[in-house]
């Protein structure tokens, strides 16, 4: 389990607000540090939210759960499982101790995002501390709500730059009664992408479809009401793809998807990149990355996100940046020393600057090395760094 080295660990909401108001350096909110703890470059104050923890409301029949941002995913998953429910998007790194707040801030979804959507599609309410130290609410606690601006969606992937999440409310779903997983062996990235497209557009409604680019294996998971129905659908899906296939046993499948959710494929790689992709152009992009070499790649979420476990040598990252940019793909470092660094296509500077100026005009939250917005003297004002510090 990763330990955070925090400069402060508020024990209450009021303490957190006070810390933001009086911090000596721009604040970096942290959960358990499973993704962002290695960032050391910069002048900032780490504020850990680990003590702002606990499920505050859980109403299974309303399909909603509310928890403080520092609540470990494990605790939430256990509470939901006890009532036959789950967060369908398999929030990653639960085993490593990740928190629900960190998951939202990093915008990180697991393989289950394929069927019903990711973090952003299940987050329905947020409360966060903005740059003024005020507690701001967005969304609500009911699954259907169109009031006010959608701050919940905004906060997903915001990496603590607009505010510190204090409490989040999620929509949850019933867990399927039965599961089956299949494995397909492909000869090429193009063949794998075709299989993903076929599985995604057919009748079978897979929960999850992942691709191990090294091993050439496409894995798909199906959830259904009975063992018989689920097995029938899974078998039919496998046959339909016309590739060598097999059904995984229940324990094997559980272990496999746990590995996927814990991002174990990345091993000890110092940098883990997450790119937003789609199945059509994927094969060409993967070929481009293969040409750089020295990386392990996994296409997750039905061809929606590409994880790249990379060595952190600067030239490699620059080459990856170039391949992604040429393909029009946006990416971000999801774990490691350069957490939050953008690669490939950059997102809108104008929108980013507008939101930053509204929610954190004095730059009390650390902006990191990835955003050149107008800032006060307190903001860590660096141009995007291309070289990794020793």
């Amino acid at each position: 389990m990763t330990m955070t080295t925090a400069d402060a660990e508020p024990e209450s909401l009021e303490e957190l607000q006070e810390m933001v108001r009086s911090a000596y350096a721009p604040v970096r909110p942290l959960g358990a540090g499973t993704k962002a703890s290695e960032v050391s470059d910069g002048d900032f104050a780490r504020v850990s939210l680990r003590r702002l923890s606990g499920i505050t409301e859980y109403q299974p029949s309303e399909y909603t759960i509310t928890a403080r941002a520092g609540t470990p995913l494990r605790e939430i998953n256990d509470a939901l499982a006890a009532r036959g429910q789950r967060l369908p998007f398999d929030p990653p790194l639960a085993g490593a101790g990740a928190t629900i707040g960190g998951t939202v801030a990093a915008g990180l979804s697991g393989p289950g995002r394929h069927r019903f959507g990711g973090v952003r599609d299940f987050l329905i309410g947020v409360r966060f501390v903005s740059g003024s130290g005020d507690l701001i609410s967005g969304g609500g606690k009911v699954v259907k709500n169109a009031a006010g601006f959608d701050f919940p969606k905004l906060m997903v992937g915001s990496c603590g730059r607009f505010g510190a999440l204090a409490e989040v409310c999620f929509k949850v779903f019933p867990a399927p009664k039965s599961r089956r997983s299949i494995e397909l062996r492909s000869q090429s990235h193009a063949e794998a992408a075709s299989a993903i497209v076929r599985l995604s557009s057919g009748r079978w409604e897979a929960d999850a479809i992942d691709y191990d680019a090294e091993g050439g294996v496409v894995s798909a998971r199906f959830g259904g009401p009975t063992d018989e129905a689920t097995a029938a659908v899974a078998n039919d899906a496998a046959e339909s793809c016309g590739l060598p296939s097999r059904m995984l046993g229940p324990e094997e499948a559980a272990a496999f998807w746990d590995d996927v959710s814990e991002l174990r494929f990345a091993g000890m790689a110092p940098i883990l990149i997450r790119a937003g992709v789609s199945p059509g152009p994927y094969a060409a992009t993967q070929d481009g990355l293969d040409a750089i070499g020295g990386m392990r790649c996994r296409l997750s979420g039905g061809g929606a996100q590409l994880f790249v476990a990379a060595p952190s040598e600067a030239p490699k990252l620059d080459q990856i940046d170039e391949v992604l940019a040429r393909a029009g793909i946006a990416a971000v470092v999801a774990r490691g020393r350069e957490f939050g660094r953008r690669l490939g296509r950059r997102w809108s500077a104008a929108a980013d600057a507008a939101v930053k100026s509204a929610l954190d005009p004095d730059g009390r939250f650390w902006n990191g090395a990835w955003c050149s917005t107008a800032s006060s003297a307190r903001t860590a004002d660096r141009s995007p760094s291309r070289s990794s510090a020793p």
């Binding site: 109403q59 299974p60 029949s61 309303e62 399909y63 915008g107 995002r113 959507g117 599609d121 005020d134 701001i136 609410s137 967005g138 609500g140 009911v142 699954v143 259907k144 709500n145 169109a146 009031a147 006010g148 601006f149 959608d150 701050f151 969606k153 905004l154 906060m155 992937g157 009664k177 992408a193 497209v197 557009s201 057919g202 009748r203 409604e205 259904g224 009401p225 129905a229 689920t230 029938a232 659908v233 937003g276 789609s278 199945p279 059509g280 979420g301 929606a304 996100q305 029009g328 946006a330 971000v332 999801a334 953008r342 997102w347 809108s348 929108a351 980013d352 939101v355 100026s357 509204a358």
Partner: protein, 437 residues
């Protein structure tokens, strides 16, 4: 009426330079008055930007201009076995741009979410005239959720010029059940039983006696006679799953003892069952010269209680209320009937509508499930969000629209924007061209 994105941008730039307010408008079906014109401002009608630019069956995306009609996206995706899930029942008329502005819902929100859950990215012109790209083409775009923030911003940031939508495979199989109950409470309890069983239906809808009476008169849907409430539950998915689930659903419903029940035996049958529900809003317009469509949310488990209280409020005010709603997610649509020719009737109806909203808030729900704040509910925004939150929303709005020229007077309370009073049936509903939920 611009014919291209460039013309829209040029128009907005002119507005910015001359500080002229504008309202970007699709088909104007907003039930909260979101597209009402503003004094001394212009309306930028986006209906001519109605091209579907791309359907990509591999990526499962559609790229469309804002004036594209909602249902036309599904029509274009159909040949590929795909569909566009958000289906507000004004979908034969309403535009994607409008759907984006108000984060439109529909009958399938519990399972599939709302418009924002199907918008992957968009290009928009901000009120300053600057053109921005928000989100992208991937379902997992990194970065803060700017596209998500733009959805439901009710036109207060600018106007979308091009929208990238997610398409889903069309479900293989449907199981549609219509049950008649002797009380609304019984229908509500049936919904709870379905939810508690772990089933996730595609849709669950309830109509009360008044709404049923109206629908029957309008489209002869043949709903169970004498029902105080009907419940429609629809399962969808692979045939093997639906077969297994329908057996379970049948058991659950049987135990709630409806006095009548019907299961769709064919696609035509299914359409007939839905026809009554989809006609409800327009049909209710025949019962009364005018009506207000209210939109509120209560926690689903308190639906029975909410309906009881609406009944009490209605009786006390001596105003009839027909109830139609998305039972699965607690989204109520009380239809408040009145005769605008009677002096004071509109005001009394509005007062009842406001009481119902306050009730929703008291119960921990929302002042709007899918119709947004618009003009209609501005004064209620502070009841849902405290001062600091409303102030933050205002600052975000000013950051995108410093001069407040994009759809001013909407969503936030206090600033007056003179407009036409809108009530009763939309002219297209009166003509029987559209019906809506």
């Amino acid at each position: 009426m611009p014919e291209s994105a460039d013309e829209v941008v040029a128009t907005v730039k002119w507005c910015a330079a001359n500080r002229v307010p504008f309202v970007a408008r699709g088909s104007g079906t907003s039930l909260s008055g979101g597209s009402l014109p503003v004094e001394d401002g212009i309306v930028i009608a986006l209906n001519r930007l109605n091209r579907i630019l791309e359907i990509d069956p591999d990526d499962r995306v559609a790229v469309v201009e804002p004036g594209v009609i909602n249902l036309d996206v599904t029509r274009a995706a159909e040949p590929f076995g795909l569909h566009y899930a958000p289906d507000p029942s004004s979908q034969t008329i309403c535009t994607i741009g409008g759907n984006v502005a108000f984060n439109s819902g529909g009958a399938h929100c519990l399972k599939y979410g709302m418009t924002a859950n199907h918008v992957l990215g968009l290009r928009a012109v901000l009120a300053t005239g600057e053109v921005v790209e928000l989100g992208g083409r991937s379902r997992e775009e990194p970065g803060p959720g700017f596209a998500g923030l733009f959805c439901g911003s009710e036109g207060l940031f600018g106007a979308a010029l091009e929208i990238t939508l997610s398409l889903l495979p069309k479900p293989e199989s449907y199981f549609t059940l219509l049950a008649g109950f002797r009380s609304l409470e019984a229908a509500g309890n049936a919904v709870s039983a379905v939810i508690d069983s772990g089933l996730l239906p595609g849709a669950m809808e309830i109509m009360d006696a008044l709404a049923i009476e109206a629908a029957e008169a309008a489209v002869s849907c043949g709903y169970p006679e004498g029902a105080e409430a009907v419940l429609i539950v629809e399962l969808e998915g692979p045939r093997e799953h639906v077969a297994a689930e329908s057996a379970l659903l049948g058991d659950i419903i049987a135990r709630t003892r409806p006095f009548a029940q019907r299961i769709a035996a064919s696609p035509e049958d299914r359409a007939t069952i839905w026809r009554g529900r989809k006609s409800a809003f327009s049909a209710v317009g025949r019962l009364s010269p005018d009506f207000i469509v209210q939109d509120g949310v209560v926690p689903r488990g308190r639906l029975g209680e909410a309906l009881r209280r609406i009944g009490e409020l209605s009786a006390a005010a001596k105003i009839r209320v027909a109830n139609v709603f998305h039972a699965g997610d607690g989204n109520l649509h009380p239809l408040i009937l009145y005769d605008g020719n009677q002096s004071g009737a509109l005001e009394r109806a509005e007062a009842l509508a406001a009481d119902i909203l306050r009730m929703c808030l008291e119960m921990g729900g929302s002042i709007t499930g899918e119709h947004g704040i618009g003009m209609e509910k501005r004064e209620f925004l502070p009841a849902m969000f405290d001062d600091a939150s409303v102030a933050a929303m205002k600052r975000v709005r000013r950051a995108f629209d410093p001069d407040m020229i994009a759809n001013p007077g909407k969503m936030f309370p206090g600033k007056e924007a003179p407009a036409l009073a809108a009530r009763g049936l939309h002219p297209l509903e009166a003509a029987g061209v559209i019906s809506r939920e």
